[in-house]
Amino acid sequence: MSERDFILELMQSTGNEDLHYFYRGEFTQSLSHQILSLAEKNIDKDHISSKIKKRVFHIMVESIQNISRHQDEPYKPEETAIFGIQKKSEHYYITTGNVIENAKTESLCGKLDKINNLDQEELDAFYREVLSNGQLSSKGGAGLGLIEMARKSGNKLKYALETISDVMSYFYLHSSINTITLGEAPEPPDNSAYSLKYMTDLHKFIIKHNILLIYSTVFDQDSLLSLIQILKSRADTPNFRKKTISLMTEMLQNIIHHGDINIGGIKGSKGIFYIAENGGLNELTTTNYIQNSSIEKIKSKIDYINSLSDEEREDYYNERLFDFRMITTKEAGLGFIEMRIKSKHPLEYSFQKVDDEYSLFKFTIRLKNN
Protein backbone atom coordinates (compact mmCIF):
# COMPACT_ATOMS: atom_id res chain seq x y z
CA MET A 1 0.00 0.00 0.00
CA SER A 2 1.35 3.42 -0.82
CA GLU A 3 0.85 6.09 1.80
CA ARG A 4 -1.70 7.87 -0.37
CA ASP A 5 -3.79 4.75 -0.73
CA PHE A 6 -3.43 3.84 2.89
CA ILE A 7 -4.67 7.13 4.28
CA LEU A 8 -7.50 7.21 1.79
CA GLU A 9 -8.53 3.66 2.50
CA LEU A 10 -8.23 4.08 6.20
CA MET A 11 -10.27 7.25 6.14
CA GLN A 12 -12.95 5.87 3.87
CA SER A 13 -13.16 2.76 5.98
CA THR A 14 -13.72 4.71 9.15
CA GLY A 15 -17.39 5.04 8.30
CA ASN A 16 -20.02 3.91 10.74
CA GLU A 17 -19.73 0.46 9.24
CA ASP A 18 -16.05 -0.05 9.63
CA LEU A 19 -12.91 0.75 11.58
CA HIS A 20 -13.84 2.23 14.88
CA TYR A 21 -10.67 2.44 16.65
CA PHE A 22 -7.11 1.37 16.36
CA TYR A 23 -4.43 1.80 18.97
CA ARG A 24 -0.79 0.96 18.87
CA GLY A 25 1.43 1.79 21.75
CA GLU A 26 2.30 0.83 25.27
CA PHE A 27 -0.14 -1.25 27.29
CA THR A 28 0.58 -0.45 30.90
CA GLN A 29 -2.21 -0.86 33.39
CA SER A 30 -3.23 2.80 33.42
CA LEU A 31 -3.01 2.96 29.62
CA SER A 32 -5.12 -0.17 29.26
CA HIS A 33 -7.73 1.54 31.38
CA GLN A 34 -7.73 4.61 29.11
CA ILE A 35 -7.74 2.53 25.94
CA LEU A 36 -10.77 0.63 27.19
CA SER A 37 -12.60 3.74 28.28
CA LEU A 38 -12.00 5.32 24.88
CA ALA A 39 -13.23 2.17 23.12
CA GLU A 40 -16.23 2.01 25.39
CA LYS A 41 -17.19 5.57 24.49
CA ASN A 42 -17.00 4.59 20.84
CA ILE A 43 -19.21 1.55 21.23
CA ASP A 44 -21.67 3.52 23.34
CA LYS A 45 -22.55 5.69 20.36
CA ASP A 46 -23.64 2.69 18.29
CA HIS A 47 -27.27 1.78 18.00
CA ILE A 48 -27.12 -1.71 19.38
CA SER A 49 -28.66 -3.35 22.41
CA SER A 50 -26.95 -2.91 25.75
CA LYS A 51 -26.63 -6.69 25.94
CA ILE A 52 -24.41 -6.71 22.83
CA LYS A 53 -22.51 -3.66 24.07
CA LYS A 54 -21.73 -5.48 27.30
CA ARG A 55 -20.61 -8.51 25.39
CA VAL A 56 -18.32 -6.44 23.17
CA PHE A 57 -16.91 -4.63 26.17
CA HIS A 58 -16.32 -7.88 28.01
CA ILE A 59 -14.35 -9.28 25.10
CA MET A 60 -12.35 -6.05 24.81
CA VAL A 61 -11.36 -6.37 28.45
CA GLU A 62 -10.32 -10.00 28.04
CA SER A 63 -8.40 -9.16 24.85
CA ILE A 64 -6.44 -6.39 26.50
CA GLN A 65 -5.71 -8.49 29.56
CA ASN A 66 -4.54 -11.15 27.19
CA ILE A 67 -2.00 -8.72 25.74
CA SER A 68 -0.48 -7.94 29.10
CA ARG A 69 -0.49 -11.61 30.02
CA HIS A 70 1.21 -12.91 26.91
CA GLN A 71 3.38 -9.96 26.04
CA ASP A 72 7.02 -10.72 26.73
CA GLU A 73 9.27 -7.84 27.66
CA PRO A 74 11.26 -5.90 26.64
CA TYR A 75 9.96 -4.81 23.29
CA LYS A 76 11.51 -3.13 20.32
CA PRO A 77 9.32 -0.52 18.63
CA GLU A 78 8.10 -3.02 16.03
CA GLU A 79 7.05 -5.30 18.83
CA THR A 80 4.58 -2.97 20.54
CA ALA A 81 1.13 -4.34 21.01
CA ILE A 82 -1.96 -3.31 19.05
CA PHE A 83 -5.65 -3.22 19.71
CA GLY A 84 -8.36 -2.58 17.14
CA ILE A 85 -12.11 -2.75 16.71
CA GLN A 86 -13.95 -2.87 13.42
CA LYS A 87 -17.64 -2.97 12.78
CA LYS A 88 -18.77 -4.41 9.49
CA SER A 89 -22.04 -5.95 8.31
CA GLU A 90 -23.52 -6.52 11.76
CA HIS A 91 -20.31 -7.83 13.26
CA TYR A 92 -17.81 -6.36 15.63
CA TYR A 93 -14.27 -7.56 15.09
CA ILE A 94 -11.76 -7.19 17.88
CA THR A 95 -8.11 -7.68 17.06
CA THR A 96 -5.12 -7.64 19.35
CA GLY A 97 -1.52 -8.23 18.51
CA ASN A 98 1.51 -8.79 20.69
CA VAL A 99 4.90 -10.46 20.62
CA ILE A 100 5.34 -13.92 21.97
CA GLU A 101 8.34 -16.21 22.39
CA ASN A 102 8.44 -18.88 19.72
CA ALA A 103 8.78 -21.47 22.46
CA LYS A 104 5.29 -20.58 23.67
CA THR A 105 3.42 -20.44 20.38
CA GLU A 106 2.74 -24.15 20.14
CA SER A 107 1.01 -24.35 23.48
CA LEU A 108 -1.00 -21.19 22.81
CA CYS A 109 -2.13 -22.30 19.37
CA GLY A 110 -2.93 -25.73 20.75
CA LYS A 111 -5.12 -24.13 23.37
CA LEU A 112 -6.90 -22.06 20.73
CA ASP A 113 -7.41 -25.02 18.42
CA LYS A 114 -8.87 -26.98 21.27
CA ILE A 115 -11.26 -24.15 22.18
CA ASN A 116 -12.30 -23.72 18.55
CA ASN A 117 -13.22 -27.39 18.34
CA LEU A 118 -15.74 -27.15 21.14
CA ASP A 119 -19.40 -26.16 20.84
CA GLN A 120 -21.04 -23.82 23.37
CA GLU A 121 -22.00 -26.60 25.77
CA GLU A 122 -18.55 -28.16 25.68
CA LEU A 123 -17.01 -24.71 26.19
CA ASP A 124 -19.08 -24.23 29.34
CA ALA A 125 -17.93 -27.60 30.63
CA PHE A 126 -14.30 -26.83 29.75
CA TYR A 127 -14.60 -23.46 31.45
CA ARG A 128 -15.83 -25.09 34.66
CA GLU A 129 -13.11 -27.68 34.47
CA VAL A 130 -10.29 -25.15 34.10
CA LEU A 131 -11.86 -23.02 36.80
CA SER A 132 -11.95 -25.90 39.31
CA ASN A 133 -8.47 -27.11 38.38
CA GLY A 134 -7.26 -23.62 39.14
CA GLN A 135 -3.90 -24.05 37.45
CA LEU A 136 -2.76 -20.48 37.01
CA SER A 137 0.15 -19.69 34.76
CA SER A 138 2.90 -17.42 36.06
CA LYS A 139 1.11 -14.36 34.65
CA GLY A 140 -2.25 -15.19 36.13
CA GLY A 141 -3.88 -16.63 33.02
CA ALA A 142 -5.40 -20.07 33.06
CA GLY A 143 -6.64 -20.06 29.50
CA LEU A 144 -9.89 -18.86 31.02
CA GLY A 145 -9.67 -15.58 29.16
CA LEU A 146 -9.57 -17.33 25.82
CA ILE A 147 -12.41 -19.68 26.71
CA GLU A 148 -14.41 -16.73 27.93
CA MET A 149 -13.80 -14.85 24.68
CA ALA A 150 -15.00 -17.84 22.68
CA ARG A 151 -18.06 -18.29 24.89
CA LYS A 152 -19.09 -14.63 24.87
CA SER A 153 -18.44 -14.00 21.21
CA GLY A 154 -20.28 -17.12 20.09
CA ASN A 155 -17.75 -17.41 17.27
CA LYS A 156 -14.45 -19.14 16.64
CA LEU A 157 -11.30 -17.27 17.63
CA LYS A 158 -9.10 -16.55 14.66
CA TYR A 159 -5.37 -16.08 15.04
CA ALA A 160 -2.28 -15.44 12.96
CA LEU A 161 1.43 -15.66 13.62
CA GLU A 162 4.25 -13.74 11.96
CA THR A 163 7.78 -14.81 12.71
CA ILE A 164 9.98 -11.92 13.80
CA SER A 165 13.18 -13.78 14.66
CA ASP A 166 14.50 -17.13 15.88
CA VAL A 167 13.08 -16.40 19.30
CA MET A 168 10.10 -14.14 18.76
CA SER A 169 6.88 -14.04 16.77
CA TYR A 170 4.03 -11.62 16.49
CA PHE A 171 0.69 -13.07 17.48
CA TYR A 172 -2.67 -11.73 16.29
CA LEU A 173 -5.87 -12.75 18.02
CA HIS A 174 -9.17 -11.95 16.40
CA SER A 175 -12.69 -12.42 17.69
CA SER A 176 -16.03 -11.54 16.15
CA ILE A 177 -19.37 -10.74 17.77
CA ASN A 178 -22.68 -10.74 15.92
CA THR A 179 -24.82 -7.73 16.67
CA ILE A 180 -27.92 -9.61 15.58
CA THR A 181 -28.96 -12.34 17.96
CA LEU A 182 -29.57 -15.68 16.32
CA GLY A 183 -33.16 -16.25 15.35
CA GLU A 184 -33.85 -12.56 14.85
CA ALA A 185 -32.62 -12.38 11.30
CA PRO A 186 -30.58 -14.40 8.85
CA GLU A 187 -26.96 -14.88 9.87
CA PRO A 188 -24.99 -11.86 8.61
CA PRO A 189 -22.07 -12.51 6.25
CA ASP A 190 -18.84 -13.23 8.08
CA ASN A 191 -16.02 -10.87 7.07
CA SER A 192 -13.60 -11.99 9.73
CA ALA A 193 -10.96 -13.27 7.31
CA TYR A 194 -11.01 -9.91 5.52
CA SER A 195 -10.98 -8.07 8.83
CA LEU A 196 -7.97 -9.93 10.21
CA LYS A 197 -6.07 -9.37 6.96
CA TYR A 198 -6.96 -5.67 7.05
CA MET A 199 -5.63 -5.35 10.59
CA THR A 200 -2.38 -7.18 9.85
CA ASP A 201 -1.83 -5.03 6.73
CA LEU A 202 -2.55 -1.91 8.71
CA HIS A 203 -0.08 -3.05 11.33
CA LYS A 204 2.65 -3.58 8.72
CA PHE A 205 2.10 -0.11 7.35
CA ILE A 206 2.25 1.36 10.83
CA ILE A 207 5.55 -0.35 11.56
CA LYS A 208 7.00 0.75 8.23
CA HIS A 209 6.16 4.39 8.93
CA ASN A 210 7.27 4.24 12.51
CA ILE A 211 3.86 5.25 13.84
CA LEU A 212 3.98 5.10 17.62
CA LEU A 213 0.33 5.73 18.30
CA ILE A 214 -2.56 5.90 15.91
CA TYR A 215 -6.17 6.57 16.59
CA SER A 216 -8.98 6.62 14.12
CA THR A 217 -12.52 7.56 15.06
CA VAL A 218 -15.26 10.19 15.03
CA PHE A 219 -13.65 12.96 17.02
CA ASP A 220 -15.48 14.82 19.71
CA GLN A 221 -14.52 16.48 22.97
CA ASP A 222 -14.92 13.16 24.81
CA SER A 223 -12.52 11.26 22.61
CA LEU A 224 -10.07 14.16 22.80
CA LEU A 225 -10.12 14.01 26.60
CA SER A 226 -9.46 10.26 26.55
CA LEU A 227 -6.58 10.77 24.14
CA ILE A 228 -5.14 13.42 26.42
CA GLN A 229 -5.26 10.89 29.26
CA ILE A 230 -3.48 8.36 27.04
CA LEU A 231 -0.73 10.86 26.22
CA LYS A 232 -0.44 11.74 29.91
CA SER A 233 0.08 8.08 30.78
CA ARG A 234 2.87 7.65 28.25
CA ALA A 235 6.49 7.67 29.23
CA ASP A 236 7.48 10.94 27.53
CA THR A 237 9.45 13.79 29.06
CA PRO A 238 7.14 16.34 30.78
CA ASN A 239 7.94 19.08 28.28
CA PHE A 240 7.36 16.96 25.24
CA ARG A 241 4.19 15.56 26.76
CA LYS A 242 2.86 19.07 27.33
CA LYS A 243 3.72 20.16 23.83
CA THR A 244 2.13 17.14 22.18
CA ILE A 245 -0.99 17.48 24.30
CA SER A 246 -1.34 21.17 23.45
CA LEU A 247 -0.71 20.59 19.77
CA MET A 248 -3.03 17.61 19.57
CA THR A 249 -5.77 19.58 21.33
CA GLU A 250 -5.57 22.37 18.75
CA MET A 251 -5.47 19.90 15.87
CA LEU A 252 -8.43 17.87 17.06
CA GLN A 253 -10.54 20.84 18.14
CA ASN A 254 -10.01 22.16 14.62
CA ILE A 255 -11.43 18.92 13.26
CA ILE A 256 -14.28 18.95 15.78
CA HIS A 257 -15.23 22.48 14.74
CA HIS A 258 -14.73 22.20 11.00
CA GLY A 259 -14.64 18.54 10.05
CA ASP A 260 -18.29 17.75 10.59
CA ILE A 261 -19.42 15.99 7.45
CA ASN A 262 -22.10 13.78 6.05
CA ILE A 263 -20.72 11.64 3.28
CA GLY A 264 -21.65 8.15 2.17
CA GLY A 265 -23.05 7.08 5.52
CA ILE A 266 -20.26 8.78 7.47
CA LYS A 267 -21.53 11.40 9.87
CA GLY A 268 -19.60 13.58 12.27
CA SER A 269 -15.98 14.63 12.53
CA LYS A 270 -14.28 11.52 11.20
CA GLY A 271 -10.57 11.59 11.40
CA ILE A 272 -7.26 9.92 12.00
CA PHE A 273 -4.65 11.12 14.41
CA TYR A 274 -1.21 9.64 14.66
CA ILE A 275 2.18 10.27 16.16
CA ALA A 276 5.18 9.04 14.20
CA GLU A 277 8.92 9.34 14.44
CA ASN A 278 10.78 10.36 11.34
CA GLY A 279 14.34 11.51 10.82
CA GLY A 280 14.87 12.43 14.46
CA LEU A 281 11.66 14.45 14.57
CA ASN A 282 8.27 13.57 15.90
CA GLU A 283 5.29 14.08 13.66
CA LEU A 284 1.72 14.65 14.67
CA THR A 285 -0.65 14.07 11.77
CA THR A 286 -4.37 14.41 11.34
CA THR A 287 -6.42 13.49 8.31
CA ASN A 288 -10.05 14.45 7.92
CA TYR A 289 -12.65 15.33 5.33
CA ILE A 290 -13.26 18.93 4.41
CA GLN A 291 -15.49 20.59 1.85
CA ASN A 292 -13.75 21.46 -1.39
CA SER A 293 -14.94 25.03 -1.00
CA SER A 294 -12.82 25.45 2.16
CA ILE A 295 -9.54 24.31 0.60
CA GLU A 296 -8.37 27.71 -0.66
CA LYS A 297 -9.02 29.37 2.67
CA ILE A 298 -7.08 26.77 4.65
CA LYS A 299 -4.23 26.74 2.12
CA SER A 300 -3.77 30.49 2.14
CA LYS A 301 -3.95 30.62 5.94
CA ILE A 302 -1.23 27.98 6.42
CA ASP A 303 0.94 29.31 3.58
CA TYR A 304 0.77 32.78 5.09
CA ILE A 305 1.76 31.55 8.54
CA ASN A 306 4.62 29.50 7.09
CA SER A 307 5.87 32.52 5.13
CA LEU A 308 6.27 34.73 8.20
CA SER A 309 9.59 35.37 9.91
CA ASP A 310 9.86 34.61 13.65
CA GLU A 311 9.21 38.24 14.50
CA GLU A 312 6.29 38.63 12.11
CA ARG A 313 4.80 35.46 13.51
CA GLU A 314 4.88 36.84 17.05
CA ASP A 315 3.26 40.08 15.88
CA TYR A 316 0.58 38.19 14.02
CA TYR A 317 -0.14 36.03 17.07
CA ASN A 318 -0.33 39.01 19.40
CA GLU A 319 -2.58 40.88 17.05
CA ARG A 320 -4.99 37.99 16.90
CA LEU A 321 -4.79 37.28 20.60
CA PHE A 322 -5.95 40.81 21.36
CA ASP A 323 -8.54 41.02 18.61
CA PHE A 324 -11.92 40.74 20.27
CA ARG A 325 -14.03 40.73 17.16
CA MET A 326 -13.12 37.07 16.85
CA ILE A 327 -14.38 36.15 20.28
CA THR A 328 -17.91 35.83 18.98
CA THR A 329 -17.19 32.38 17.53
CA LYS A 330 -16.13 29.17 19.26
CA GLU A 331 -12.76 29.18 17.58
CA ALA A 332 -10.08 31.61 18.59
CA GLY A 333 -8.48 31.96 15.14
CA LEU A 334 -5.18 31.19 16.80
CA GLY A 335 -4.88 27.46 16.13
CA PHE A 336 -2.49 27.34 13.17
CA ILE A 337 -0.27 30.17 14.36
CA GLU A 338 -0.04 28.59 17.81
CA MET A 339 0.93 25.25 16.26
CA ARG A 340 3.61 26.91 14.13
CA ILE A 341 5.12 28.76 17.08
CA LYS A 342 5.01 25.82 19.49
CA SER A 343 6.38 23.23 17.08
CA LYS A 344 9.15 25.52 15.71
CA HIS A 345 8.77 23.84 12.30
CA PRO A 346 6.79 24.70 9.16
CA LEU A 347 3.29 23.26 9.01
CA GLU A 348 2.75 20.67 6.30
CA TYR A 349 -0.42 19.81 4.48
CA SER A 350 -1.86 18.09 1.45
CA PHE A 351 -5.29 17.72 -0.04
CA GLN A 352 -6.71 14.79 -1.92
CA LYS A 353 -9.96 15.08 -3.78
CA VAL A 354 -12.58 12.47 -2.88
CA ASP A 355 -15.59 13.70 -4.87
CA ASP A 356 -17.24 16.92 -6.06
CA GLU A 357 -17.98 18.01 -2.54
CA TYR A 358 -15.24 16.65 -0.29
CA SER A 359 -11.50 16.25 -0.08
CA LEU A 360 -9.19 14.70 2.43
CA PHE A 361 -7.02 17.15 4.33
CA LYS A 362 -3.80 15.76 5.71
CA PHE A 363 -2.03 18.00 8.16
CA THR A 364 1.32 17.40 9.85
CA ILE A 365 3.21 19.16 12.60
CA ARG A 366 6.84 18.25 13.16
CA LEU A 367 8.66 18.81 16.39
CA LYS A 368 11.77 17.79 18.25
CA ASN A 369 11.39 15.35 21.07
CA ASN A 370 13.43 16.71 23.94
Binding site: I228, E250, F322, F324, K330, G333, E338
Partner: protein, 126 residues
Protein backbone atom coordinates in the same frame (compact mmCIF):
# COMPACT_ATOMS: atom_id res chain seq x y z
CA UNK B 1 -20.38 39.72 47.29
CA UNK B 2 -20.71 35.93 47.00
CA UNK B 3 -17.64 33.96 46.10
CA UNK B 4 -17.52 31.84 42.96
CA UNK B 5 -15.92 28.42 43.21
CA UNK B 6 -15.79 25.92 40.36
CA UNK B 7 -14.17 22.51 40.75
CA UNK B 8 -11.87 21.46 37.96
CA UNK B 9 -12.81 18.73 35.49
CA UNK B 10 -10.73 16.92 32.86
CA UNK B 11 -11.25 19.84 30.49
CA UNK B 12 -12.02 22.89 32.59
CA UNK B 13 -9.97 24.67 35.27
CA UNK B 14 -10.65 25.17 38.94
CA UNK B 15 -11.81 28.69 39.64
CA UNK B 16 -11.70 30.46 42.99
CA UNK B 17 -12.99 34.01 43.10
CA UNK B 18 -13.39 35.20 46.67
CA UNK B 19 -13.51 38.90 47.44
CA UNK B 20 -13.61 38.47 51.24
CA UNK B 21 -10.49 36.31 51.27
CA UNK B 22 -8.85 38.22 48.46
CA UNK B 23 -8.35 35.07 46.37
CA UNK B 24 -8.65 35.29 42.59
CA UNK B 25 -7.34 32.14 41.01
CA UNK B 26 -7.66 30.04 37.87
CA UNK B 27 -5.72 26.76 37.93
CA UNK B 28 -5.16 23.28 36.42
CA UNK B 29 -6.11 22.70 32.78
CA UNK B 30 -8.32 24.56 30.39
CA UNK B 31 -9.27 23.09 27.05
CA UNK B 32 -13.03 23.12 26.78
CA UNK B 33 -14.55 22.86 23.34
CA UNK B 34 -16.28 26.19 23.93
CA UNK B 35 -14.30 28.32 26.35
CA UNK B 36 -16.69 31.27 26.11
CA UNK B 37 -19.50 29.22 27.54
CA UNK B 38 -17.46 27.97 30.48
CA UNK B 39 -15.97 31.36 31.31
CA UNK B 40 -19.15 33.44 30.92
CA UNK B 41 -20.01 33.36 34.67
CA UNK B 42 -16.33 33.89 35.53
CA UNK B 43 -16.12 37.04 33.41
CA UNK B 44 -19.45 38.25 34.81
CA UNK B 45 -18.16 37.81 38.36
CA UNK B 46 -14.94 39.69 37.64
CA UNK B 47 -16.84 42.57 35.99
CA UNK B 48 -19.10 42.82 39.00
CA UNK B 49 -16.18 42.64 41.45
CA UNK B 50 -14.60 45.70 39.92
CA UNK B 51 -17.68 47.76 40.67
CA UNK B 52 -16.42 47.68 44.25
CA UNK B 53 -12.98 46.07 44.35
CA UNK B 54 -10.64 45.45 47.27
CA UNK B 55 -7.78 47.96 47.58
CA UNK B 56 -5.46 45.28 46.21
CA UNK B 57 -6.17 42.57 43.65
CA UNK B 58 -3.68 39.79 42.93
CA UNK B 59 -5.04 37.60 40.17
CA UNK B 60 -3.37 34.23 39.97
CA UNK B 61 -3.07 31.95 36.94
CA UNK B 62 -1.62 28.50 37.62
CA UNK B 63 -2.32 26.54 34.47
CA UNK B 64 -0.71 23.43 33.20
CA UNK B 65 -2.35 23.50 29.77
CA UNK B 66 -4.74 25.80 27.97
CA UNK B 67 -6.08 25.83 24.42
CA UNK B 68 -6.23 28.84 22.12
CA UNK B 69 -9.91 29.31 22.83
CA UNK B 70 -9.02 29.72 26.53
CA UNK B 71 -6.09 31.96 25.55
CA UNK B 72 -8.58 34.51 24.25
CA UNK B 73 -10.47 34.43 27.54
CA UNK B 74 -7.28 35.08 29.49
CA UNK B 75 -6.73 38.11 27.27
CA UNK B 76 -10.22 39.23 28.07
CA UNK B 77 -9.62 38.92 31.83
CA UNK B 78 -6.35 40.83 31.54
CA UNK B 79 -8.18 43.57 29.67
CA UNK B 80 -10.67 43.92 32.49
CA UNK B 81 -7.81 44.06 35.00
CA UNK B 82 -6.10 46.75 32.95
CA UNK B 83 -9.26 48.82 32.66
CA UNK B 84 -9.63 48.80 36.44
CA UNK B 85 -5.98 49.46 37.19
CA UNK B 86 -6.76 52.82 38.73
CA UNK B 87 -9.45 51.60 41.11
CA UNK B 88 -7.31 48.96 42.82
CA UNK B 89 -3.68 47.90 42.83
CA UNK B 90 -3.80 45.11 40.25
CA UNK B 91 -1.17 42.47 39.86
CA UNK B 92 -1.08 39.16 37.98
CA UNK B 93 0.75 36.22 39.50
CA UNK B 94 1.67 33.91 36.65
CA UNK B 95 2.59 30.45 37.94
CA UNK B 96 4.22 27.91 35.67
CA UNK B 97 5.61 24.47 36.29
CA UNK B 98 9.39 24.21 36.43
CA UNK B 99 10.89 23.87 32.91
CA UNK B 100 7.59 24.68 31.21
CA UNK B 101 9.09 27.29 28.91
CA UNK B 102 5.96 27.47 26.74
CA UNK B 103 3.84 28.45 29.72
CA UNK B 104 6.45 30.94 30.91
CA UNK B 105 6.62 32.42 27.42
CA UNK B 106 2.85 32.79 27.30
CA UNK B 107 3.04 34.76 30.55
CA UNK B 108 5.71 37.06 29.19
CA UNK B 109 3.59 37.66 26.12
CA UNK B 110 0.59 38.56 28.22
CA UNK B 111 2.71 40.80 30.41
CA UNK B 112 4.00 42.76 27.42
CA UNK B 113 0.64 43.11 25.74
CA UNK B 114 -1.69 43.71 28.64
CA UNK B 115 0.14 46.51 30.44
CA UNK B 116 -0.66 44.90 33.80
CA UNK B 117 1.98 44.22 36.48
CA UNK B 118 3.14 40.60 36.41
CA UNK B 119 4.92 38.47 38.94
CA UNK B 120 6.32 35.13 37.74
CA UNK B 121 6.41 32.17 40.06
CA UNK B 122 7.96 28.84 39.22
CA UNK B 123 6.13 26.04 40.95
CA UNK B 124 6.62 22.31 41.24
CA UNK B 125 3.19 21.33 39.97
CA UNK B 126 -0.06 23.22 39.49
Amino acid sequence: MDSLTIQHTDETPSVTLDKAKGVFRIADNSYPDDARKFFAPVLAWIEKYFEEPNPETVFEFALSYFNTSSAKIITKILNILKENNTKTAVKVRWCYEADDTDMQKSGVRYQQLSGVDFEFVEIESV
